[in-house]
Symmetry: C2
Subunit: 194 residues, 2 copies
């Protein structure tokens, strides 16, 4: 997605070989127009899949997911990482390991919002080691729903997440794919899209 790649080049900050900071338009400050374009792109790629629900995870997945939900006309569920006063019933959970924080946490979704009839699009802001995506995948499968695919805003293609998901048979649609963050610069994967 060209508009996203240009935004990453202009406003992204390479913190290390492993970490790209996009706090100015995705992870802290959000650019709503860009989020709408991202939502429209996800909707375009999955328009023929009969999506009935989008599942994402707090907090940075919410904006892109809600915009995609608006385009596709479907509800959006965000998995919680922490206990919530009202999220108490019929909990579906998964363990997610954070490579950066080196801690494991539980993510949760209420099963009351998912059924066997749902066809789910999973959306998240980043794909690195794939832990969050795999956690969401597990939760959707526990509900008995089908996963049509996983939509990712920014994929760090030099990390194993994408390959792990593809090996599991998932369709992964990443709007920006980063081949490298070495030498302080962003190099995108060379792609030919049909």
């Amino acid at each position: 997605m060209e508009a996203l790649k240009r935004k990453i080049e202009e406003d992204g900050i390479v913190l290390s070989d492993q970490v790209l900071k996009v706090d100015s338009f995705l992870n802290h400050q959000i650019d709503p127009v860009l989020m709408q374009q991202i939502g429209q792109e996800f909707a375009r790629r999955f328009e023929k899949d009969g999506i009935t629900k989008i599942v994402t995870i707090e907090s940075s997945g919410i904006a892109p997911a809600v915009m995609a939900g608006l385009e596709l006309g479907v509800p959006v569920i965000f998995a919680r990482k922490r206990k919530s006063l009202t999220l108490t019933d019929d909990l579906l959970t998964a363990s997610v390991y954070s490579f950066t924080k080196k801690t494991e946490s539980q993510i949760a979704v209420s099963g009351s919002h998912l059924s066997k009839e749902d066809r789910v699009l999973i959306i998240d802001d980043f794909l690195a080691n794939g832990q969050a995506a795999e956690g969401l995948l597990s939760i959707v499968k526990q509900a008995g729903a089908a996963v049509s695919g996983i939509g990712i805003v920014i994929e760090k293609s030099f990390q194993p997440g994408r390959d792990e998901l593809v090996k599991k048979g998932c369709r992964v649609e990443s709007l920006a794919r980063i081949q490298s963050l070495e030498d302080g610069k962003v190099t995108f994967v060379q792609e030919v899209r049909s």
Copy 2:
């Protein structure tokens, strides 16, 4: 806002005299079309205020805030409740006490996204005791920016938050104002809007 009040009546669950659960369309599962209508209503109420930024707090403030940001054509910043790998510079913080969890936590915004020239609309999903809104108010003021007002999706008018903010001179625009949650039902404040 009538569409919101009808949604609360149909899908809201009164858990106690103090707690309304709206997990099916705002706090866990999100209704994107309703969020868009909410964003449009906030934009309508603040269209003459020269808003340059919206500030909200993760996670449930994000969807309504981003929709309002889309309508007003301005960026949206979400305050973080927890440490973030990339949120490290120029931190503006405030303490927020949770009456439900009985714990105090720090919320943070990077000052790099706010300046003295900004006119800010603060948006949050609920207004109860006003702790979160007052924390966001403090942060915006630390940045030297002006606060045009506070937009709230659901206000529990029987709790002190609104009065505390009004006493501080804030303009509070709540799209649904709940007078009572007693006897397991939602009673809205009777309002005459100009």
